[in-house]
Symmetry: C2
Subunit: 161 residues, 2 copies
DNA sequence: ATTGCGACATGACAACTATCATGTGCCGCA
DNA sequence: TGCGGCACATGATAGTTGTCATGTCGCAAT
């Protein structure tokens, strides 16, 4: 399926019938709080399954919105659960994927709990290898480690001595 | 098994033979960086499986250290994998657990990416409900949302008007 | 070629928080 | 009963970062 920017795939409270596997673009899972502000709980890019936990829930707990144009591959919830029940190999792949995502998410949490830009960049480099992202990805890195692009530029400049 | 404070359960590079399920206390999964500083990748409390992703790895990527006295239930890796392969029900429970942990970790990441204590506390309350602890848990909350206890006390005091 | 956009870059300032210091009240323990 | 530890609480200050402003550069589209 294809989604234009801002298009919603499902809303909170909807019954879970399908699972979306992101092929291209990015889909955000957002939760609106009572005070009006929003929390983005997942930024699903290519190769990610959207709202993995919804496989084990009857209804969605968040809204899903296309962030830019995006393509997804849709599977029905029942077919996935049937496949999981029938194929230990697929179960293994699924659990392995979840465990890896969990590891990455935990790492991000810990990086975000560091206090200075310098510490966060060190931690990021320690895992993502310092060499690449030379072309135009610094802004994305800044977002991942939870600092403003300007602050990251300053930290990089400081290290060029 | 029982572990005293500071006791290590395994070290990075060790082959993965066992999986630890935490019964009591807390066990930290830490990764030492080249510059000497350490990153804590998981704080496994009661009811948590330690280093879930190690089930899908030949060797450990981090060290595990008991944080205070702790008790764990130990299962061999092969028996767990055999159970996962043989029992679709257990596979389902395992994947469901991983998905829930992933959801919680993603939430924590997003809370930590908020900039002010006020926003973080709002987001925390929105998920952990108003039924929070009146007795002596605020310091723990402060740690979870990545702010100093003092800052949290100040924010709470400000809201008592 | 010119225009326009976006990443990269840096300065200045306000705002927020971590830290240190100090103090209070509760509770378990000797 | 008194002591010590701990969570709770608050003030003062310095440090770091977000934000706004401004500017350069490369690149793509007209």
């Amino acid at each position: 399926m294809h989604f234009e920017n801002g298009r919603s795939l499902f809303l909170r409270g909807d019954p879970v019938t399908d699972m979306h596997f992101v092929i291209k673009g990015s889909i955000h899972l957002v939760r609106h709080q009572s005070d009006g502000s929003a929390l983005t709980l997942q930024r699903a890019g290519p190769g990610a399954m959207l709202a993995e936990a919804s496989l084990y829930s009857r209804t969605y707990h968040c809204d899903a919105v296309a962030f830019g144009a995006a393509d997804t591959c849709v599977y029905t919830k029942v077919s996935l659960k049937r496949l999981l029940a029938k194929s230990p190999e697929f179960s293994n792949v699924w659990a392995s994927y979840l465990a890896q995502e969990l590891q990455r998410s935990r790492l991000r949490s810990e990086i975000l709990s560091l206090r200075t830009v310098s510490e966060r960049l060190d931690a990021w480099i320690a895992w993502n290898g310092g060499s690449f992202s030379q072309k135009g990805e610094w802004k994305i890195v800044a977002n991942q480690i939870g600092v403003s692009p300007e602050a990251l530029y300053r930290e990089i400049a400081k290290r060029r001595d």
